[in-house]
């Protein structure tokens, strides 16, 4: 059980990257971005392309860092893939969502558009890589470190936790200390007043998509490192992502983080009693309970 909880935290931290991005976008633009899960897929697969396709061609060596399952290739691919997904998110906003926003379309039409975008991303991945599973490093042995309480954890997973923590801290500092970060928080609070104050809300929106997309992409890559890649991975995360976001209160970054950890642990612990394929259903049930009992999220401040 302790091991399930530990792995739940790892899984939860991956979900957190997606959930934080989702809550940022939701908080500012007020629509449910159903494509967010597939942004995770996009990150994972761009990384796959770089690690197994482009970088070997450049001659970047394949050696790994110590007992981790990856090396320089992934170290370079990680930020590059994040940037690519950031760019893709901004691109989708400019050509799909923004025209609809300017027309005054309701949040439902935007959500349908996002749904379409999610399928478009998934189809592109399927066209380029097919429906099979992929790995960054096939056939690798994954030795585990034994911690106190006889909990096994892999070095990869420790690095995942460190990475997520660093990204979250970076984001916190960005939102708290930088001008754009504060402008993002202001716009999320009150977009009309932000405009009235002279804040360029269009730029804020671009930054939000960029950050949200980059974080989602990172989450996808980490999942690919930890488990595997498959084209439906993002869609699989959609329910836990939304559950985490709602649990934490929409627009609340810390809430999304806590919500994601709760989701991760809950899903893992559920495997002691249910088949692992039911994990999304577990996320769903928890989400429904939250919506019925406390729709504004455990931290409140979310829009009910």
């Amino acid at each position: 059980m302790a091991e399930l909880i530990v792995y739940g935290v790892v899984l939860g931290s991956i979900i957190a990257l997606g959930a934080i991005g989702l809550t940022l976008v939701y908080g500012i633009l007020r629509f449910a971005n159903f494509a967010h899960g597939d942004l995770m897929t996009a990150g994972a697969y761009v990384s796959l392309f770089l690690v197994t396709g482009l970088f070997p061609w450049f001659g970047i060596p394949d050696t790994t860092f110590g007992s981790l399952s990856f090396g320089w290739r992934m170290a370079f691919a990680f930020p590059i893939a994040m940037a690519c997904v950031a760019a893709a998110s901004i691109f989708f906003d400019r050509i799909l969502y923004r025209p609809l926003r300017l027309k005054g379309s309701g949040s439902v039409i935007l959500a349908i558009s996002a749904l379409g975008a999610s399928f478009i991303i998934r189809m592109i991945v399927l066209i380029l890589w097919g429906g099979d599973y992929h790995f960054y490093r096939p056939g690798v042995l994954r030795p585990a470190i034994i911690l106190p309480l006889e909990i096994k954890i892999r070095p990869d997973q420790i690095l995942i936790l460190i990475t997520v923590l660093s990204l979250v801290v970076f984001l916190y500092l960005f939102l708290k200390r930088t001008k754009m970060g504060k402008a993002m928080r202001a716009t999320a609070d009150n977009m009309e007043l932000a405009r009235v104050s002279g804040i360029d809300t269009e730029r804020v929106i671009i930054w939000t998509w960029g950050i949200g997309g980059a974080l989602a992409g990172a989450g996808g890559i980490l999942y690919g490192i930890d488990v595997q890649l498959h084209p439906g991975m993002g869609w699989h995360f959609l329910l836990p992502l939304f559950a985490a976001t709602i649990l934490g209160g929409i627009g609340n970054m810390y809430g999304a983080l806590v919500g994601a950890l709760v989701m991760g642990v809950a899903q893992q612990v559920s495997t002691a009693y249910l088949l692992p394929t039911y994990k999304p259903a577990v996320a769903f049930i928890i989400m429904i309970l939250i919506l019925l009992v406390r729709p504004q999220g455990i931290f409140g401040g979310g829009r009910a």
Binding site: K179, A186, D189, R195, V196, S197, I199
Partner: protein
């Protein structure tokens, strides 16, 4: 010297016109009040001047410049600030951060301005790192005005500053408005609370059903019984 002039403004939401052919002006360092019954179009007038609403007819000039229909973020850069009636602060940001957002378009060092704001609203100083959402109504209103003032505007538009405030605080808010005016800012105040507003105003306009029905000095309107009965609830 006229600092702001709106001529023959007609505007509204959707198909309906709320404001019909209204003309007002604001002279340098004046306080002008816009009063009248509910639904008269007072808030609509401010929103049209500030560019939140596009007028169907008419023009707005800021000093010599035509600003009709410019978007708010451009108007703000020309030295006019606006405080909405509701939703006029960023609740999850601190007092300090709210003020910083007010100064967003400034490219210079605005720390002096920040100090001036804390001098103007001393009760905000100790709480500067508190989230505005947790403040009282009166404190929030001060933050709202402070945010608008960070840009050092020459014209300030206030939409019902005393609305939803406890009666005790209403007097304080109007004192602050006078203080702000003394620093050289020309102010238009839209208000339900006609009496208090007229007391501090140089001139006033009475709006009803979207039209201007009366204008005079603040004192004269206060003493005019007929206007008082018809439009100001006695």
């Amino acid at each position: 010297m006229k600092v702001l002039e709106a001529k023959n403004l007609t505007s509204g939401y959707g198909e309906t016109d709320i404001l019909r052919d209204v003309s007002i002006k604001l002279e340098e360092e004046e306080i002008v009040s816009i009063i009248g019954p509910n639904g008269a179009g007072k808030s609509t007038l401010l929103k049209t001047i500030f560019g939140i609403l596009m007028p169907r007819h008419g023009a707005v000039r800021l000093r010599d410049e035509e600003i009709t229909g410019l978007s708010p973020d451009k108007i703000v850069r020309k030295g006019m600030s606006y405080v909405p009636q509701v939703d006029n602060i960023f609740p999850s940001l601190t007092i300090q951060e709210n003020l910083e957002m007010g100064a967003f378009v400034r490219t210079d060092d605005y720390r002096d301005r920040l100090d001036e704001m804390y001098d103007l609203f001393p009760m905000l100083k100790d709480r500067r790192n508190q989230k505005v959402g947790s403040l009282s109504g009166g404190q929030r209103q001060m933050v709202a005005m402070g945010r608008a003032l960070m840009l050092d505007p020459t014209v300030l538009l206030l939409d019902e500053p005393s609305a939803s405030l406890a009666p005790m605080l209403v007097g304080m808010i109007f004192e602050k408005i006078v203080d702000i005016n003394r620093t050289g800012v020309s102010i238009i105040v839209v208000e339900q609370n006609a009496r208090e507003t007229l007391k501090i105003s140089d001139r006033g306009y009475v709006l009803a059903m979207g039209r201007k029905v009366f204008e005079d000095t603040g004192k004269a309107i206060l003493e005019n019984d007929e206007v008082g009965k018809l439009y100001l609830g006695g």
